[in-house]
């Protein structure tokens, strides 16, 4: 955890450790001394450059050694932006902004399928995505609903997608264009 507010947070990692986090993934962070677990969605992954990386690109002659050195030895900063979509306190999920932000250096982990299924048992988790997704709202809604669906057993996935679509239809009744775009992304196979 690098920076945080009640609306979201930014966490950092090494460049070779970004194999698993993906846009729209569910993540969670919890301070060891309290029972507040903040849940969020990855909204952006940024890899900053630096002058040496720019030189290597210009020279266009780097090899396996230098590539590994850059990725594994140097602290190439990777920043992951997260949008808060709710929290869990005393084992109860809440679909509101958390009462307080996570703290600096708190570990951030990807949610496992059971945790995703537990938190997305109510389609209310879509509300904060819709309000906080910014320019990527459509893609973020699509990715989050797909990942929540994938976290379920195959026989439950269609039911979940239909329920999510119904919830969106109510929430996006004023914006049919956006509704159509999201529905096309989550249409069951």
């Amino acid at each position: 955890m690098l920076r945080a507010s009640t609306e979201g947070f930014t966490c950092g990692t090494r460049s070779q450790e970004i194999e698993y986090p993906a846009f729209g993934s569910f993540v969670q962070t919890a301070h060891p001394n309290n029972d507040l677990i903040v849940l969020g969605l990855i909204t952006a992954i940024r890899i900053d450059d630096d002058p040496l990386v720019r030189q290597l690109i210009m020279a266009n002659n780097f090899n396996g050694n230098t590539l590994r050195d850059q990725r594994e030895n140097r602290l190439v900063p990777v920043e992951i932006e997260v949008l808060n979509i709710g929290y869990v306190q005393s084992d109860v999920p809440y679909y509101n902004l958390p009462p307080r932000p996570p703290l600096s250096l708190d570990p951030v982990t990807l949610c496992n399928p059971a945790e995703i299924e537990y938190f997305t048992q109510s389609p209310n988790f879509l509300r904060l995505i819709l309000h906080g997704g910014g320019n990527s709202t459509v893609d973020l809604l699509g990715a989050a609903i797909r990942k929540a669906s994938d976290a379920r057993a195959p026989e439950l996935q269609r039911e979940f997608l239909v329920a999510a679509g119904r919830q969106l239809a109510g929430m996006l009744s004023h914006d049919l264009t956006m509704l159509q775009q999201v529905l096309s992304m989550i249409r069951p196979n």
């Binding site: 030189q55 020279a59 002659n61 050694n65 230098t66």
Partner: protein, 396 residues
């Protein structure tokens, strides 16, 4: 100023062409050696280059690089002692970077920090004199660099591939008189050189040591060309005090026009009392030789000086290895060895790290019932450096 610079450059260009012609025509080693012996016999204070074995009017192309090699680079940085800080200390940090040429093995990067805080470290005359000068810190750091290099290279003594230790700066190291205990420091430097040579003697392949010197304004070859223009009776200390008709030219200028990209000059030996000391006090293998290398491209020449001890200079295979591997390093990023860039990055102590170190020291002082207190002068300086907010009239 523009006219003056243009006039100077035009003058240099004309005299430079004469110097280039002289270099092209200096193919007879016997005559050059005769002049070198003459200037030594006359003790005329010659500070130029002397040829080693190769003809100086030739450029030498690059052989293929060895398939595998281990290259170790070191660089150092420091925090100088500050009388106004809460605690009196100085710090050195040596960056170490090991590059395994010819494979995909992950390079090794480490830093080796040293914190000095006792009076014996910080004060002259074994802890009883005034605070040491920054030049002393620099000198101690330089010695640490070569000591660390020799120590790290020894970790690879069981290999059978070329091993190259790279220093950032000249190998021919000496100290001015204002550094206390200069003799001891120079002795430690000599010992580190001997340790490296000992490694070379035990090593199954070549263990080469080099000093990489960039943007030098050296005139060793220019001075040699000047010497070669003189008649025997004109070889005097007064005449050799400058570069004569070639004054204002540098070896960089000359070899940027003499060497094609990737080529090196002949190996030569710098003539100086310091280099003579290296040879006489440690031994023949430790006299420092050098060659120029054009590490640039066809659109952008870039001449650097590579210094090597005589044990490398006398081994054509080792010279070829140094030549090809340093070119390879310079091709990775911006015509400067990648390994030295990384060693520097590992060594440098940033302002943020310095503040973190000060915080850690202050914490320790608190733990030991000491109140850390900066001098009012330092506090004021930090406040003025913090930047000012400007209150401006809004633009209509």
């Amino acid at each position: 100023m523009g006219r003056a610079v243009a006039h100077k450059n035009q003058s240099i260009s004309e005299r430079g062409q004469i110097a280039l012609d002289k270099l092209h025509n200096s193919g007879y080693l016997g005559e050059i050696e005769r002049m070198i012996h003459l200037v030594r016999d006359k003790d005329a204070g010659f500070r130029g280059a002397a040829p080693h074995i190769e003809a100086i009017n030739k450029a030498y192309g690059c052989s293929p690089a060895p398939e595998h090699a281990v290259m170790v680079a070191v660089d150092g940085s420091q925090v100088y002692p500050d009388f106004h800080a809460a605690a009196l200390y100085y710090m050195t940090n040596i960056g170490i970077f090991v590059y395994y040429h010819g494979g995909d093995e992950l390079p090794l990067g480490e830093s080796d920090p040293y914190l000095y805080y006792t009076d014996a470290d910080l004060r002259e005359r074994n802890g009883h004199g005034s605070l040491i000068k920054n030049t002393v810190v620099n000198a101690r750091r330089d010695v640490q660099e070569i000591q660390v290099l020799a120590r790290v290279c020894r970790d690879y003594q069981d290999l059978d591939v070329p091993l190259i230790g790279v220093m950032d700066g000249p190998l021919l190291w000496w100290l001015s008189g204002d550094v206390p205990n200069a003799g001891r420091l120079i002795g430690e430097y000599y010992t580190a050189l001997e340790n490296f040579y000992g490694l070379h003697n035990q090593y199954a392949n070549n263990a080469s040591l080099i000093g990489y010197v960039e943007r030098g304004d050296s005139r060793f070859v220019i001075r040699l060309l000047h010497l070669l223009t003189l008649a025997d009776e004109d070889v005097t200390r007064q005449e050799l005090d400058n570069a004569g008709p070639f004054e204002g030219l540098t070896d960089d200028w000359l070899f940027a026009r003499f060497l094609e990209p990737g080529e090196r000059s002949a190996v030569m030996i710098q003539q100086s009392p310091q280099n003579r000391d290296y040879k006489q006090k440690i031994g023949d293998p430790f006299e420092i030789a050098f060659f120029y290398l054009n590490a640039g491209s066809f659109t952008n020449d870039h001449v650097v000086r590579i210094e090597i001890p005589m044990w490398v200079a006398q081994n054509p295979e080792a010279i070829d290895q140094v030549h090809s591997l340093m070119l390879d390093q310079c091709s990775i990023a911006a015509r400067y060895p990648y390994m030295l860039t990384r060693a520097h990055e590992l060594a440098v102590i940033t302002g943020l790290e310095k503040r973190q170190l000060d915080d850690m020291i202050n914490t320790e002082l608190f733990k030991n019932q000491q109140l850390p207190e900066k001098s009012p002068k330092l506090v004021t300086k930090e406040q003025t450096r913090a930047g000012r907010k400007q209150y401006r009239q809004p633009t209509p």
